[in-house]
Subunit: 409 residues, 2 copies
């Protein structure tokens, strides 16, 4: 195969033809198992000196402190995935015309390593992140990889950095895999070279002094996603577009924005989190509702976990203390008008965001078309439904409750 | 101001608050003239050895060969734009959690330097690119700059690299300014640090052996842009999204795709070019039509230039040989159905893309919903309308006709 790959990479006469050829080349390279990620070839270069571990008080700003080491795995269209290396944390060297810098060829992931009660280190559902990363890579025409092999390498890194995993409740080690196109080119093409890096950052609780509900600004001027777009993929390109919306929210005194989609202002996401609402219906049913995975919603791991736990309770399979008996879980369209009217009628029980960083982020107000929608929150800042789900989720994440979602490294 | 900036950058308790503060900080920094780009401070470090200039035959692949030097200008939220440096071409060093790598905080530009008949070097409408780059930077919450000052620095770079500007007809030096967020952070925020780089690549004609019309695949599965999105900005994020569409086009044997927007399949762009169609109406009028700048269309400099020349002709102010007498220019919605029916009725005169790289790129076929729409092209691959406009445009770009658009460095 390699010979045909090489000959097809010769300069061709026009960009279109080159693209057409490269597309075949890349498909071949993606599917070749001979070019896969090989954990057995891992090379480890230890940092000559380890940094002092930070005091918890230094972890108030998310993702500013990095550990001693990082993982790098290069990829080339001809030779596939190269030698994985764990090495001292350092800069990435890129051509100024690298495709990630010019054409945003990048996708990433984020998950956390927790200290369990017995002192072990456990990752929360990292297989979900590996799967999503492959989907994202496909959307950005970045190379595919064996998720299990890549996860094995990440585990090696986390094992090496295990002393960085905080033991204080609410603290964890955030793991950030990143896959970027590194080919230096002015032509918009699938890259001939790519790089996967993984870094680790010790992080504190999102709300160090207890749950502090936030106000959201309902964004109708900008969009996060649209049908046929990239909303359901964890591409960097999904994040740059939200910065102006966050800026607009800040102008209105709101720390985050609520993405309201289309003419019906459907509730989709909260800033960079999934959005959930809890309604009380006339028949006494309590409904936990979130937007369906219609191609515009990021399939959040926390979203998935919250829904799964809620459904276990609703079905009676595994009851969660504090959740109501008449409980239903819906993935459905939620027009903002419904939220507003429910709030006015006293039928809106809670509203919150879910994501890896904050886990659950309660909302007490939504600024919507020059009106304030007020949302109840419990005495400690979190409503009864989200608090019960949060408690169960955190118990699983930290290993206080044994669960297959928690993977000891 | 600096003191308040510094104090407001202290770690705050939650991301939202940090955002709100940073937003004010950035606005202040953006608008401060004391923190502007200063060409008088330019430092030049010459490459110890100059590379041999390439033979024209080596320039068949666009953007693979770079010149000896590049320009770098760093930016920081506290200190503004730093010392501009022209230095040997080299790698950019970035943190693996730099915002450009993770959140696609990047915008870029592209324009060309041409060798004039008298041996001078001229840039084509670089002021348009500087203006567009500022608009793009704003959408990505990247720092603003003085476009004239930045252009002066770019001119210095082009002057230093003037021997790299090919004199062979159809050849030029492509100039690529790039602005990226460089702050190492896991938080999605306007960056505290950024970097502007400019590189130069000698490039050949897009079609080295004459105009070769291309076939387009009408994309209805994916979108390039949507209302409230970033379609009208030159952000990297607009390019990564198109890769799967180009891949799908390649599967159908088409080297480029045609973006068909919304339920009416409006003709918007050709791959990474603006799209233009020429219709013959029953009254004998010849209409040059392109999509309006409705927020979803990149305001291309070549698009603008072609429209301006065409309107000069249509108004009788400056006739262009080969263009019809009954000539009108429209920026309007063009449903693909209209193109298809015009082609069947013999009323579609031409269809082409416009952009900096190819200037004008004729199209001879559009694959649309399992049907082929055939489009006439002239005997040498280019129809009479596009050829006449192309000849005038190239004459201006290369300085054969004197024009204010051509800026000697």
């Amino acid at each position: 195969m390699l010979r045909s790959v090489r000959s097809s990479l010769r300069p061709s006469r026009n960009v279109g033809a080159r693209y057409a050829v490269n597309s075949r080349v890349l498909r071949a390279a993606y599917t070749s198992t001979a070019l896969g990620v090989e954990p057995s070839k891992l090379e480890i270069q230890h940092a000559p000196q380890l940094k002092p571990k930070p005091d918890p008080s230094e972890l108030r700003v998310f993702g500013k402190i990095v550990t001693d080491h990082m993982l790098s795995v290069p990829w080339n269209v001809l030779t596939g995935w190269g030698t994985p290396r764990i090495h001292p944390f350092g800069k990435v060297l890129l051509d100024p015309h690298a495709s990630v810098l010019n054409f945003a060829q990048t996708c990433f992931e984020g998950f956390k390593a927790y200290r369990t009660p017995s002192g072990k280190v456990a990752l929360f559902r990292p297989d979900m992140n590996m799967k999503r990363m492959q989907t994202s890579a496909g959307r950005a025409t970045l190379p595919q990889f064996d998720g299990e092999a890549m996860l094995e390498l990440i585990k090696q890194l986390v094992r090496l950095e295990k002393d960085w995993v905080p033991s204080k409740p609410g603290y964890s080690l955030y793991v950030r895999p990143l896959l970027i196109g590194t080919e230096g080119t002015l032509v918009v093409n699938p890259p001939s070279d790519a790089l996967l890096t993984v870094i680790c950052c010790p992080v504190g609780p999102y709300y160090p002094e207890g749950f502090k509900p936030i106000a959201l600004y309902g964004t109708t001027e900008f969009i996060r996603a649209a049908p046929g777009g990239i909303g359901s993929y964890k591409l960097g390109a999904n994040y740059v577009t939200g910065l102006v919306a966050a800026k607009e929210a800040a102008k209105h005194g709101c720390p985050q924005n609520l993405w309201l989609q289309g003419p019906n202002h459907l509730v989709t996401e909260v800033g960079t989190m999934n959005a959930m609402a809890v309604f009380k219906h006339p028949d006494g049913t309590i409904e936990l509702a979130t937007a369906p995975l219609d191609g515009m919603i990021l399939p959040g791991v926390t979203r998935n976990s919250v829904l799964a736990l809620a459904r276990e309770h609703a079905s009676g399979n595994s009851r969660i203390e504090g959740l109501p008996d008449n409980f239903v879980v819906s993935e459905r369209e939620i027009p903002m008008k419904e939220v507003q009217e429910a709030a006015k009628a006293g039928a809106l029980v809670e509203f919150f965001g879910t994501g890896t960083a904050a886990v659950i982020s309660p909302v007490n107000r939504i600024r919507y078309l020059d009106e304030d929608v007020h949302i109840p929150t419990g005495p400690d800042g979190m409503g009864p439904v989200s608090k019960s789900l949060w408690q169960r989720l955190v118990a699983i994440q930290t290993g206080a409750i044994e669960h297959s979602w928690s993977v000891v490294v």
